[in-house]
């Protein structure tokens, strides 16, 4: 196995008396398509928040490209290459779609100096994702699927090595899901490692090479999609008794 891109080691997170994550460990290798699933409240989003730096961990370590980043603030992790999208899109509402992309291009991808380059690059990303016609509208005028695409486009603009996609497909039609999946596959082909968190099993099973299952803050299973589907522990966690 190739050396891991992301190593999560014994990660623990508590909120008051509630333990959201209890000693969770996982490795993601470079170029991998990695699925993270689990029932509601199992700790998926908390895990993402800890990895991206939005929440400080209470215990355990996180390493990225072999470097310990447990104490590194979120924006620096983004610059190192860990980029996430949000489950509920959080666009910069006062800016146009293109300007939305300019922020990560400037701040994360290091294109701070010359403005022309940023605009061109933003347009390029938008065209790969099919949003170029909306470049100069504000996010308030976008449809649901366009909003998701903007979320992904903005993440792409940060030039990630590891992209964490947090339920990017919830509430979309199956054609729209295929659209998003296609984008993610394309990104992966360019060498971007992707962690997909998803409730829509069809999508996550099709996309992932390897899946980890969380339940009640603990890691209960790991394996290929086929193995996970047949795993009785997983079935129990999802369906109850």
């Amino acid at each position: 196995m190739a050396p891991a891109l992301l190593e999560v080691d014994g990660l623990t997170k508590r909120f008051g008396g509630f333990t959201a994550l209890n000693g969770v460990s996982l490795d993601v290798t470079p170029g991998e398509r990695f699925g993270l699933i689990g029932p509601n409240g199992s700790g998926k989003t908390t895990l993402i928040n800890c990895v991206s730096g939005a929440l400080p961990a209470d215990g355990g370590r996180i390493r990225f490209e072999g470097r310990d980043i447990t104490a590194v603030p979120a924006h620096r992790r983004t610059r190192l290459g860990i980029v996430r999208s949000f489950q509920i899109p959080k666009p910069f509402t006062s800016m146009t779609v293109a300007q939305n992309l300019a922020i990560p291009l400037e701040y994360a991808a290091g294109a701070r100096s010359d403005g022309a380059d940023v605009a061109a690059e933003a347009m390029e990303i938008l065209s790969t994702i099919g949003l170029e016609s909306k470049a100069h509208t504000r996010p308030a005028g976008l449809t649901q699927i366009e909003m998701r695409k903007l979320e992904l486009a903005r993440a792409m603009a940060a030039k990630p090595k590891l992209l964490i996609s947090d339920e990017a497909m919830a509430g979309l039609s199956s054609a729209e899901i295929d659209d998003i999946l296609a984008i993610l596959f394309r990104l992966n082909e360019r060498g971007i490692t992707i962690i997909m968190i998803e409730h829509i099993m069809r999508a996550v099973m099709r996309f992932s090479e390897r899946i980890v299952v969380l339940d009640a803050g603990e890691r209960i299973a790991e394996g290929t999609p086929d193995a996970i589907v047949r795993n009785p522990v997983v079935e129990k966690a999802y369906l109850g008794e």
Partner: protein
Amino acid sequence: MARSTRTLLVGLAVVGAGILLAALRVNPYVYFAGYVILQYVVIATAWNILGGYAGYVNFGTPAFFALGAYTAVFLIQSTRAPLPVLILAGGLVSGLLGLGIGYLTLRLRGVFFSIATLALSIVLQTMIINWEYVGGSRGLSVIRPSGPPFGSYVTFLFAVMVLLSVVAVTVARFIERSWVGRGLAALRDNEEAAECMGVPTLRLKLFATTVSGVLLGVAGAPFPYYVTFVEPTSAFNLDYAVNALAMPMIGGTTSWVGPVIGAVLLGTAQQLATVTISSEMNLFIVGVVLVAFVVLAPEGIVGLVRRVRGR
């Protein structure tokens, strides 16, 4: 390059015009009224750096302004320091306070931040009230230095305020057009998303609160020499909080011109109202205009103009 040169030239031209106006010795009332209006240009611009660009509404404007003023009072009392020193010191002390409230933003957002700044203002006022050396609650008369340039001290203060406004507006304009301004706009829209897109939100917020604090303190530092009598109630007057907020709102918060237009319009209107109709009506009008603007023209005059131009 050419752009920044031109900005510099325009700034210098305004300062030059101000000094020329001061040297002309027109009717002294112009300087008195002009000083107050320019003071509001600085205050509104300073407030807007934090409130308009970064989206953190500061209700504690009087605290920063008065801190600048009282730093000056303290230095006048103890060392009779010259005006430039007072301004620098006032800016420095208020800037430190700004840095302090910057750390508050770590935990407090939105309305909570606003309330904290309001509380800060009250705590600071109580401290000044109980500090006899700077006059306590009784206030303190300040005697102006003799022999100022331009014949009268207020004319001199007017010229100083012209310079300070140009500095404040230039700083605001620079921030707005730089990557800092874009980062602040991002964190105003969504702080979490901004952080995740690589924007160092804490550092930018600290920068904004500090710069805003410095400029507010700078606006307050010449105040003792202007009124010649400083007491807590007027130095911590709620009017500063209202105007600091109303002026950018009326002018438009997203651009540096907004606060300037708002301060000039509202400031002039208030100066005229003070000497024409009753100031009760004056406040009433401010209230109505404020509500009308936020309801009907949420982006202020700048927004209106842009909309008319169809941009």
